[in-house]
Symmetry: C2
Subunit: 132 residues, 2 copies
DNA sequence: TTATAAATGTTATATTATTACATACTGTTA
DNA sequence: TAACAGTATGTAATAATATAACATTTATAA
């Protein structure tokens, strides 16, 4: 329940739920979970999610429309993200690999373009599911 | 309008529209475009899209919920995809860079896991937008 | 030719996300 | 402290994206 400075009430409530979850959470499942705390409308959830993403406290898993807490203490702003996703159990982990992030941050395309931001999603079977 | 063998009627109609588009297309914009051709329901579009993705003829740009034709002739099955996305004009290009794809296909995480599939989206400003 | 898989058609509905507008809170600075 | 600006909240309505369920047809191949 680690208290985060400078989050607003709704932002804190929603961050806590995501942070305490062992799996990525979808917006409407978050909504369902926070209705007892007085957050009643989708927009209240989406606004907090937007802000938390902007702050780098959470990331959106684009292929799943779901959100996880940032697992990478150094990632203040989420402009360089990488995840592994198990296609069987849907477990998601954030990858923090210095070589990978350096490689991608320095990547230059055929036209000489560099990019200030990327998102990478790996898919496969996690250890548990592979051994089944 | 290049005729593709072994696509069904709806698949062919929808592939042609995506293939001839200069920008990624969203499912409901495709639907709107094909209503004159007798495709009336979202599901008809989504089914064709699913199949085309499975065949590697098109790719889904996850962060945009939109679809583009595969620009990489060698990419039969879309299990290793990379795109550059302009955050200003929303132009999207598929990146086919052998070094990058080798690097990512061989990537091994801290736990020794390899992945059989990935999707990478780079964000930035395209040449045109940068020079504005 | 018959049976199996793939594709289609149709209606309804589920899920994800935003617009628009009114109000309240928080932190500055005059 | 008053006035202001910026951020956050509340609420209702609706837009945009995607799937379930079921009936039927077409293509393929044994």
């Amino acid at each position: 329940m680690q208290k985060q400075q400078n989050l607003s009430k709704n932002q804190q409530i929603i961050f806590d739920i995501i942070h305490n979850s062992s799996e990525p959470l979808k917006a409407y499942s978050i909504l369902f979970n926070v209705q007892k705390k007085g957050i009643k409308a989708p927009l209240q959830v989406y606004r907090a999610l937007d802000k938390l993403v902007e702050l780098g406290k959470i990331h959106k898993i684009e292929s799943r429309n779901a959100f996880i807490a940032c697992q990478n203490s150094s990632c203040q702003i989420s402009k360089a993200t990488a995840f592994s996703i198990c296609e069987s159990c849907e477990q998601v982990s954030e990858i923090s690999n210095t070589k990978l992030s350096k490689y991608l941050s320095n990547f230059t395309d055929e036209a000489g373009m560099k990019y200030n931001k990327y998102n990478l999603e790996f898919f496969g079977l996690c250890k548990k599911c592979k051994s089944k």
